[in-house]
Symmetry: C2
Subunit: 274 residues, 2 copies
């Protein structure tokens, strides 16, 4: 079901600035019984991302009600929230008093990523590079053509994700995931101050690592360091933690750090559902 | 009036990939009596830009009919065409057989830029930089947050345009215009193989310069070279050729090369309308 500004409908204005310029942000996450998992984090991220674009963020309660309505009676849903600057006139300028458009879309469904979390996924390296734009780095905005180009590099349904570097060759992450690597008992994940999306599950992993007493560096590293790492896993709010079992054709094993992080996040999920 | 896929309506699917990812391209231009000025160039640019994103481009005759219908009986219109990959499922991937969405929007109106073409415009320098992305450079796609950020840098209605550099400090152009500079009788305009939009009027100026026997270099230059240039003008398909009369607070005059280019383009426009 789709709600636009709180009303069940499937269309938006053809003049919406989200369509015209990608002038907006989004989130995708899981809900159980109409309630978003880790909602406090998702809402906080929406607040930060809207602030980066100087977008008015809808009230938390308004979005909670939209999510509940969009999920209906479905016990498990995947939910996407899009917030745009709303309909506008022709031209890049905006007045600042635009009424934002909020789109909340829920799809019912079982957890289709469970087997992949257990068995791991096959991952390739993408040749599409991410451009460096500090003014937008980290923000999950609607300008995602680089991700579309990268995802169009493969059609093999057995490959779950592709990894992307920035223009300087620094590993940034998957087309729809954040990446973590582990070597010698230490975790690392890329800095995202030049490009990439700083996702909510990345933040959860960083917090879980701290609780587990695991060191985790937010740093720069190349594809070669990913290839040499003992463990590699990819995360997002829909799939959870995906161990990489095949990286660019080379077989790999799920390691103990990946397993510890998976368990920590699973416990958090279970606590929310209980 | 707005037509979506040839039908008079003002809405599009909330699942359109143009909205979700900016997965599409656009054009803005003038029409007279329902016919686009320099339509062969605009359509050719749409074909090239759609090819860059592997989008199916609508037939030329289909778009011509849309433009005519959207303009109605208006003698002068400003028209915007948006082509997106159409509605899609969640996720960056696409099958390739998506039905594109075409939006054609026409606004009636007199030529509001005539005085500015005569008197020149006031221009500022923007601090927002354009990221370097060769895979998308030159294409007028829907990922335009950088332009939105740059345009939000000023509110003074007396300033018509802002100039943007890339991350390395190379001048690229205005938020909605291409730039030309002239010094010692030679024209220059930036290379757009790393970022920027290679507009139709830029192409017309290059052709006109060749006809006029003017040298025009497509090259790299910095803000300082713009500040030192004898003549600076900005172009797009709606405003035509704008001489810069005030650049970052410094007064400037419209020079003879700017005037020659203006006349050449005006003659082309007149020939199309005759």
């Amino acid at each position: 079901m789709i709600l636009v500004n709180g009303v069940v409908r499937s269309e938006v204005s053809a003049m919406d600035r989200g369509l015209a310029y990608g002038d907006g942000v989004f989130r995708t996450f899981l809900a159980r019984g109409g309630t978003a998992l880790h909602w406090h984090r998702h809402y906080a991220k929406l607040v930060r991302d809207c602030a980066a674009l100087r977008l008015r963020v809808p009230d938390r309660q308004v979005l909670e009600a939209d999510v509940k309505a969009a999920c209906g009676d479905d016990p498990r849903s995947t939910v996407k929230i899009v917030i745009t600057r709303g309909p506008g006139r022709r031209g890049y300028g905006y007045a600042g008093d635009e009424a934002p458009t909020r789109i909340v879309h829920a799809e019912p469904g079982a957890d289709t990523a469970a087997a992949q979390r257990e068995d791991g996924i096959k991952v390739r390296l993408c040749s599409t590079r991410l451009a460096c734009q500090p003014a937008l780095a980290g923000v999950k905005h609607l300008n995602r053509l680089e991700n579309v180009l990268a995802r169009a590099e493969w059609t093999d349904a057995g490959i779950a994700e592709g990894l992307m570097c920035d223009a300087s060759g620094n590993m940034i992450g998957g087309t729809m995931t954040n990446i973590f690597i582990a070597a010698n008992g230490v975790l690392a994940t890329p800095r995202l101050d030049e490009c990439g999306v700083a996702g909510v599950t990345r933040e959860r992993v960083l917090d879980a690592a701290a609780r587990l007493g695991l060191q985790c560096a937010i740093t720069s590293f190349t594809v070669n360091e990913v290839l040499r790492a003992e463990e590699v896993f990819l995360v997002n709010s829909v799939s959870g933690v995906w161990p990489v079992r095949d990286l660019d054709g080379e077989a790999r094993q799920r390691g103990r750090i990946t397993r510890a992080v998976q368990l920590a996040l699973q416990q958090e999920d279970d606590a929310q559902v209980a």
